[in-house]
Symmetry: C2
Subunit: 147 residues, 2 copies
């Protein structure tokens, strides 16, 4: 497998992934969301209500850093924050029906562009690529660094 | 292909690719290279001598931004800069034998780590993933954004 003739994986994937993220920005702007807001909606969609700490961990964000984002999402009616019955100091976050509609609309646009790109690939390669991407996305930074 | 249940490609690949890049930094530091220096060596290895303008374009860098990097690589004997016989104002860059040895050593370490990660995958998926990564890496930002 030590094939020096392939390019480095990082050199192939990093510019591509960065360009994909850049392509999301106008979609998010049209829906008046920023990247953190979209990440929050994705993390809350289809999951049970979460504490702010659990949410921050799920999206790899600093807990204090996303407070402004959560305030904005709540103000826009996209998420709710209710006291946690198990811990009165904590609040549970959940996506609202309006939040879910926005998330679905944004994701449909984002994935439509991604699917346009993936449509260049043979179907078998496309399926394998997505399967591998799911596996690699679940690795921790330490696993990727070999620590 | 509009499968809302998959995660966004950007959300899967961007953190993974960023962590791969981060994993390269200690390797580069051990060889006293920075990322631009390594990119330059990779672009010059196995290619005919290039002008600074062509090199900058190949690695997606600003022409003036890499001058310091080129100075350092030349001082360390890893690249040469000779006047271009076709254009006396331009200089042609080439990798030296010492530069090639450093590039090969660094790339072997980087790809050994990448291969450790890829070894988790079934062989067919791994081959398909690398094939697709090569294809996607050749897309321009405009093609990725659908412009």
């Amino acid at each position: 497998m030590a094939d020096q003739r392939r390019r480095d994986l990082a050199a192939m994937l990093y510019p591509f992934a960065r360009a994909l993220v850049a392509a999301e920005l106008p979609v998010l702007a049209r829906h008046e969301l920023n990247m953190w807001g979209y990440s929050v909606l994705c993390a809350l969609d289809g999951s049970p209500a979460r504490t702010q700490a659990a949410l921050a961990q799920a999206i790899n964000a600093d807990k204090t850093r996303i407070i402004g984002t959560l305030d904005g999402l709540q103000r826009d009616g996209l998420i709710s924050r209710e006291p946690d019955p198990a811990d009165r100091r904590a609040r549970l976050l959940a996506i609202t029906p309006a939040g879910r509609r926005v998330k679905i609309a944004v994701q449909a646009e984002i994935q439509a562009n991604e699917n346009r790109i993936l449509a260049r690939l043979p179907a078998g390669d496309r399926r394998a690529f997505l399967r591998v991407a799911e596996t690699l996305a679940d690795l921790s930074p330490d696993e990727i660094a070999g620590l």
